[in-house]
Symmetry: C2
Subunit: 300 residues, 2 copies
């Protein structure tokens, strides 16, 4: 089923305690769409500058990702993020952020995108997210992400968005910030009270908590000793989750839970190398194999 | 089956962001034995002073906990801990610590304790833990806890202990400190290489990771919105775990996993009120009911 993602497309420079990478492929829409491409076809919308390497677009297209909605701004520069991970790989510091072409991004979707059934509004300004949503009135399932910056700077827009989406995924510190409550179980329920039918709080290496109408549950992360670069884990989680829902064309509670598990496992591969390197090295059957291990891990 | 715990018996003063309690019943051996008493009979060894309220001993005995090994020092004062929890209830600060009678504690076990099959060496000096172990040569399963203070101050004694125990439970920051590795999956395996057949890393609100000979798995905490006081959660976890193993008189991988789940759930009740208040309000059937919810939560 058609799945659309609108979000950032970036060149990332990442420093970990042991290694460095310069200007590697990144951005929320990129991680999301690559992760989702294990499950379904994806249409990506975003913006890049003239400096965007053609091979990145080719890579995405080789995965069946439709890049018709990827605007290329002549004379513009691609969004750049530079960050550094601390020793424990959980905390990170943004060393530099250049919005570049993202600053003036107008999320105008191609006509072919507008009849999508599944829509993911990746991290971005609530104003942009709402504008995107207006173009996809018929979507059956709309899920959004957000971040601390917009919770602080565009709270009203975000609250308006929350009334119009089916689901929200956000990380633990963002949930605490949005609700001013430090208990994640309470925080998740408060966010659900703001509008979304379901809320997923991502806890990085500690997994995710789901809040639905009739159930709250926690799924742990898959324990991996090879955390090389956590960048994009949250977007890969969302991509795996939405990709699976679109593949199954269903989002009842049972399918949602399986989707959360697939999101968890997709993210567990992403962190095992820089950029999309690890995801490029695996196939769907590797995800399914890890799913079997994960199910076994959680049964007793 | 006979289960022995040797550890601290304390009067705790606890401050949370919203409430305060003075001189309430606490200590690792107390939380452990009360938690284990849902599953089996427990023999407790520890030390208190003359100021120890008789009703605390009566409470423990009412649960079938054998307190023959609880030494009462005439003229002595009971170990006291005073702590304060921060807003998010995860971080805490020790405001005052008075070892009192614990400073000269000699863990000499009553004869009736020495033929135990299950032994838990709660948090304490490795010298004391080794001395206790020497008195229970026939124990079939010996599990220890430790803490940052002893990892720093008695590392050699701790390493000697690790060669002689079957299992170690410790929390995430302690595992990182002991191994100088910030990846918990690697850290757990390194600790296992130091001797224990299995290692459990407790992650508080994020659950626990198990490292055994043939498997590594994560069990999440049970999501509770009512975290009132986290004191004793780790000891209740160990008590629920060891209590279940002693009840089943088995510690094969399958039973160990069930035991970890029961430990998780016992701890989830402990944090819902101060001291032992919540555990006093529940029965075994409440644990079993939560176990059903927990199994359902983890299956998909």
């Amino acid at each position: 089923m058609s799945l659309i993602v609108v979000g950032s497309v970036a060149l990332d420079s990442v420093e970990t305690p042991t290694e460095k990478r310069e200007d590697v492929l990144g951005g929320s829409a990129v991680y999301f769409s690559y992760a989702a491409s294990f499950f379904t076809t994806v249409r990506l919308a975003g913006v890049v500058g003239e400096d965007w390497p053609a091979e990145h677009t080719e890579l995405l297209e080789s995965r069946g990702i439709d890049t018709t909605g990827l605007q290329v701004v002549s004379g513009g520069k691609t969004f750049r993020w530079r960050g550094k991970y601390m020793k424990d790989m959980n905390d990170r510091e943004t060393l530099d952020l250049q919005l570049n072409v993202l600053a003036d991004f107008d999320p105008l979707l191609p006509e072919s995108y507008r009849h999508c059934k599944y829509l993911f509004l990746a991290n971005g300004s609530p104003t942009h997210q709402l504008k995107t949503l207006d173009q996809c009135q018929g979507a059956r399932l709309v899920v959004a992400d957000t971040m601390d910056f917009y919770i602080r700077s565009e709270r009203n827009g975000l609250l308006e968005l929350l009334k119009r989406v089916d689901g929200l995924v956000l990380n633990d510190s963002e949930a605490k910030l949005l609700t001013d409550d430090d208990n994640l179980v309470r925080a998740g329920n408060i966010v659900r009270g703001m509008g979304p039918k379901f809320v997923v709080i991502k806890k990085g290496e500690h997994g995710a908590i789901f809040f639905g109408e009739n159930e709250t549950y926690v799924l742990p992360a898959f324990p991996t000793p090879d955390v090389v670069d956590p960048t994009g884990a949250g977007d890969s989680f969302a991509g795996g989750m939405m990709g699976y829902l679109a593949e199954r064309d269903c989002f009842d509670p049972k399918t949602l839970k399986e989707a959360l598990a697939y999101g968890t496992l997709t993210a567990s591969f992403t962190v095992e190398d820089f950029s999309l390197d690890r995801l490029q090295a695996i196939e769907r059957k590797d995800l399914d194999r890890r799913m079997e291990e994960y199910r076994k891990m959680l049964s007793f």
